[in-house]
Symmetry: C2
Subunit: 351 residues, 2 copies
């Protein structure tokens, strides 16, 4: 029998902060690119096309001595039943013994590791002097992307927020986001006054809901796209040289947020090249023959390791295609388990 820790969202929120998740996700990327980690094949099943599906992502992080999986269900009609549409569960096991370590609610872990991914793209690819961030999408994921980018980028002064369906929702988001950043992210640093002050200042940016996406895209130094879009929202001719784009939304066939023409002269990186080609933002440009798989500069992990160069000049347009890999979830879940153990969070059960 194994003792394992069961951690719900409340416990998980109490256990981790964006700084430590960014560090963990970078570690996962490096382990993947250096052959210290393995991504197992994805299992995907549609119960009802467009209405209900599930996937199982799994993998092994040798350098963290863990393996495991995340099972995510998406049932679009759940909201009418008072249930969440998206439900994720993460299972982490010890790769030295095969014993289970924890079962975790996957939602907050997914939000944090996905936010971290977008921020890491900016960290290694955006110009250091970037001042204007354009957030495309104002949903659940947007505060995590903004928190991660502000955690990492020193010079951001303005965050433009665009909602492709509703200016009002972008405006509402801009009103609420300073408080969300304070409560959900800044307060985690209250034990580290120096970092708390640093991030408090970083959060003092101007939030601006934008209607004219063409103008906003032209002013942006960094663009993050986090929508469920299936058609391009950002056109090639709007973008100035030197812009970095982190693509978060595309994680299944048919999803697309960028004009495929943008890939023609961009320097493109991905978390997992095969996945980017099959289900990521790279899917459409490759299918349309704008680029081929060989045109992708490399995996983000190799860039972090320093094995390949990132941006070659201040005029490069760089793209980070973040499709989401199980290794991010597993390393973040393992971080949660360690912190929760130290803090006495969660429920320990005999399995």
């Amino acid at each position: 029998m194994a003792k394992l820790r069961v951690l719900n969202q409340e416990a998980i929120e109490g256990a981790i902060d964006m700084r430590s998740v960014i560090k963990a996700v970078e570690d996962a990327y490096v382990q993947k690119s250096s052959g210290e980690a393995v991504v197992f094949p994805l299992i995907f099943y549609e119960f009802e096309p467009g209405k209900a599906d599930m996937d199982i992502k799994s993998g092994y992080l040798k350098g963290a001595d863990i393996f495991g999986l995340k099972l995510v269900s998406w049932f679009g009609e759940n909201t009418g039943k008072g249930l969440p549409a998206l439900v994720g569960t993460v299972m982490v096991l010890d790769s030295r013994t095969g014993m289970p370590l924890g079962i975790l609610n996957g939602e907050y872990i997914t939000c944090m590791r996905t936010g971290a991914a977008g921020g890491i793209g900016a960290k290694y690819l955006a110009r250091k002097d970037s001042r204007n961030l354009l957030m495309v999408g104002s949903g659940h994921q947007a505060p995590f992307q903004i928190a991660a980018t502000l955690e990492i980028m020193e010079g951001i002064e303005r965050v433009m927020v665009y909602n492709p369906n509703s200016l009002d929702r972008a405006k509402g988001f801009c009103r609420k986001v300073p408080q969300i950043l304070r409560n959900k992210f800044l307060d985690k640093y209250s034990d580290d006054r120096e970092h708390y002050e640093l991030i408090r200042e970083r959060y003092e940016v101007e939030f601006e809901a934008v209607e004219d996406i063409e103008k906003a895209a032209g002013e942006a130094d960094i663009i993050i796209t986090a929508t469920p879009s299936r058609k391009p929202l950002i056109m090639k001719e709007w973008i100035k040289g030197g812009t970095h784009i982190s693509c978060i939304g595309a994680d299944m066939e048919g999803k697309q947020e960028l004009d495929e023409g943008l890939f023609q002269n961009a320097r493109v990186f991905a978390d997992d090249i095969t996945q980017a080609v099959n289900v990521g933002e790279c899917e459409v440009p490759i299918k349309k023959g704008i680029i081929s798989e060989e045109d992708i500069a490399g995996e983000i992990g190799r860039l972090i390791m320093g094995s390949i160069p990132g941006r070659l000049s201040d005029d490069d347009i760089t793209i980070y295609d973040s499709t989401g890999i199980a290794l991010q979830d597993l390393i973040t879940a393992n971080l949660v388990i360690g912190k929760a153990e130290a803090m006495g969070l969660g429920v320990v059960v005999d399995l």
Copy 2:
């Protein structure tokens, strides 16, 4: 947030009996063969070849409104660390909402559903007048196979037990097994006196440790093989016409318990034909060209449904290649969850 039930081995043992597991596993087989269930691709990874591996088996049972997975770790060197070598965890979710229902220790569920599988093979393929059962293997799985077969077959008088490595261990097993059957299986029926009495009488068989496997195989009406063998233990020329063989041990490439020649004139069934061909007892005879995949008579589910005939005459040698499928685990786990809920067993946690 979801409320889900965490069930350890003790709770699971208290919740289910062999009769209900046999019924559930038959249901899973029928759902699979009638297209009401889907087996998702297997994920298998070897951490260290021959020393440590893990697999994830998953699937969907539409007829039971569930889907889920079983993750099994095998770490051969765990026994030296005071840990179990084999650890399994089952996760069951509601296929109408995607919400998790339970997390269960996989060990007892695997033992029960595997025992049920061997018994079901005998139920649908052995001659009704079978009197002699030969159990090849006297390990952990043997009592489950015997309990399931006695649950189903009315006329068994003698159970011969063969251990390929040690007559003494077979003898020790024969001394202990009546008490195991009473405590672990018969006592579950104490609320149903009629069934209790029926099974109590069925358990009054003669247990005999055998050294001469050739003679024992020739006398057997039913043979069940449940060893980790990688070479044939039962030779073709030993077997009389009319014998049924349930093959339980072979569940990965290279495992083999039967002389491949036995397949030449036998009527062969499998739980899952692809899996039987790749990792089951059918693997070697097909690789050696003794039979081809088309010579397999069909899936056990189709036989249970009555879509295909089983034994065609009292002289047929029949073989059931049970490789083990996730649907058996999931339906058994779901049975456990239902019973545990009614009995108040396990721990309910917020996830």
